[in-house]
């Protein structure tokens, strides 16, 4: 709270008093009453000023404290909980109302949070349930090999992929930590993803190259597999005539850069900035290949939660490269 603002707030009352005193002074001058003249001209303004100072001090103390608390608190909406009583009337009224407001809001937030948690739990449970029939379906397809079953298996694989996406979507919103960071060779992650996609990769004759994948990073295995699977899925979807995918890793002083590079159809310059947006389907995604606009969005979200960075470079007609950057902390190096 500043003097200037405080005074401006009191401007009307100050002016009114000013005019009143000057008028009195003029009248007193006419009846020549020097003593009263001094009393009114000096005493009253002085008293007024002292009163003003006291009020300003009181309010300044109160509001400054709130301001400081608001800055320090992470959840500013809990402010009324920590406010101390004011030593003036309106301040106490204010606190009272704020407390009522805060309570009702806390209730509301709690209700939404609970709903959200329940919904998330339901989704996770549902996903685990649905995996069972998928497993049975795959088993049946394997046991009764035929052309129809092969095609059925492909569809089952798609269902599985979408299910997986839903699971990680639910998890990406989770507040608590449900991942496990450990040292993982990138090779393992890539191998799992390639095995998962081997059918398409082999039949579509997509060439696979790997460089330096013995490099290890600190990450959650499952989450990383999911992320790389999304990226590889895109490389497969938007492949060119003679497709290849190159997986490579570079260890720098402070980071490991893992790159997945393809020679696919690429992304136009105008769209490249938006690829990580939720629900964004570029002209590629709206074309003959269907896209949900969730894949890369989720990748970025999961990477951020794990403390990795994900970048995408692309040129239309030349290919796309996705880089995942794993910071290497000195903590790990010292071990």
């Amino acid at each position: 709270m500043k003097w200037k603002d405080f005074l401006r707030d009191r401007l009307a009352s100050l002016l009114l008093w000013g005019i009143f005193i000057i008028a009195l002074e003029v009248m007193l001058m006419a009846v020549s009453q020097p003593f009263l003249q001094i009393y009114i001209g000096v005493g009253i303004p002085l008293g007024f000023l002292v009163d003003l100072c006291l009020e300003f001090h009181k309010k300044k103390k109160f509001y400054d404290r709130i301001e400081k608390q608001a800055e320090e608190m992470e959840q500013a909406y809990l402010l009324p909980e920590v406010m101390e009583d004011a030593d003036f009337l309106e301040g106490n009224y204010l606190i009272q109302f704020l407390k009522v407001m805060e309570h009702s809001m806390a209730e509301e937030v709690k209700r939404y949070r609970k709903d959200h948690e329940e919904y998330k739990d339901y989704i996770e449970m549902w996903i685990h349930e649905v995996k069972h029939p998928i497993a049975v379906g795959k088993m049946i397809a394997e046991n009764h090999r035929s052309e129809a079953m092969e095609s059925m298996e492909e569809e089952l694989q798609k269902i599985e992929d979408y299910t997986e996406q839903a699971l990680y979507y639910a998890r990406s919103y989770n507040v608590e930590k449900d991942y496990l960071i450990k040292e993982v060779p990138l090779q393992n992650v890539v191998a799992e993803v390639l095995k998962k996609n081997k059918k398409t990769l082999i039949t579509e004759k997509i060439k696979i190259e790997m460089e330096n994948l013995e490099t290890t990073v600190y990450t959650d295995n499952k989450w990383m597999e999911f992320v790389v699977n999304q990226v590889v899925g895109n490389s497969i979807k938007y492949r060119s005539e003679t497709p290849y995918i190159l997986f490579s890793a570079v260890r720098k002083k402070e980071q490991v850069i893992f790159s997945v590079k393809d020679n696919g159809i690429g992304i136009s310059e105008s769209e490249i900035k938006r690829v990580f947006e939720k629900g964004f389907t570029g002209s590629n995604g709206r074309g003959k290949q269907k896209s949900t606009g969730i894949g890369l969005y989720l990748c970025q979200k999961l990477c951020r939660r794990l403390g990795h960075n994900i970048l995408l470079f692309s040129r239309e007609g030349e290919g796309t490269e996705v880089r995942i950057i794993f910071p290497v902390g000195s903590y790990y190096n010292e071990r």
């Binding site: 685990h128 995996k131 049975v136 088993m139 046991n143 390639l194």
Partner: protein
């Protein structure tokens, strides 16, 4: 023949799993009741247990822990829960491996084979595959013919091994590649051709000729009998 005990409460999956494993050279036994699973597993006389985590009466992880206290029988946990933490718990309870639903049947098969191989290491004499006049030494990854030996690289070995297991029948390029990929060798078409050529010349150098035949556009056949 190795016997596998299937502990799975879903009838349909149990049936399909049994069918699948039977057709891939295993004998299977299924658990019908789940009131005393630990005792049933301990007294089943099987070589490996496929254990589902979500079971009606007792939790699979608990069963695993209890069984492990008394027996070293290999256990593969099957689960639809998918997180590193679950995996960690299962492994800590003494499971030998862990597969997630929906698993790929062939990968399940590969894992079963791997565990059985590991368990039986040392117990059985090193396996030799007889290929009609010449042999494959599984332990040493070598081809042998009349006292001559040649070492094969990992890639080459896997190709020869897969062909030899199905000798006399056509193995499609896709099936062969799919097998190699499962063993984490992500070869492409050209690499496969190059590898097969190299294998041929290696085998020829120890006097094994014309055993791998190419069927144009289809795949390879390993001859059942050596034809000179």
């Amino acid at each position: 023949m190795k016997r596998i005990l299937i502990v799975e409460d879903d009838e349909k999956l149990k049936k399909e799993l049994a069918y699948f494993l039977c057709h891939n050279g295993y004998e299977t036994k299924e658990l019908e009741k789940y009131d005393t699973p630990v005792e049933d597993i301990l007294h089943c006389g099987c070589d490996l247990v496929l254990l589902d985590i979500n079971l009606p009466v007792v939790d699979g992880q608990y069963i695993c822990k209890e069984v492990r206290k008394q027996s070293d029988i290999p256990i593969i946990m099957v689960t639809s829960r998918n997180s590193d933490l679950d995996q960690l718990i299962s492994m800590n309870y003494g499971a030998d491996d862990y597969v997630e639903k929906p698993f790929h049947p062939q990968i399940l098969l590969a894992r079963i084979a791997a565990i059985l191989r590991r368990v039986n290491k040392g117990k059985e004499s090193p396996e030799i595959i007889e290929c009609g006049g010449w042999q494959l030494d599984v332990a040493k990854r070598m081809a042998r013919n009349q006292g001559m030996e040649i070492e094969l690289t990992k890639n080459e070995w896997n190709i020869v091994f897969f062909l030899a297991k199905q000798k006399g029948t056509l193995v499609t390029r896709d099936a062969l590649m799919s097998y190699l990929w499962d063993s984490e060798m992500f070869v492409d078409d050209n690499t496969l051709t190059v590898n097969v050529t190299r294998i041929r010349s290696k085998l020829e150098s120890i006097g094994i000729k014309n055993v791998i035949r190419t069927r144009r556009g289809q795949g390879y056949v390993m001859e059942d009998k050596e034809k000179e």
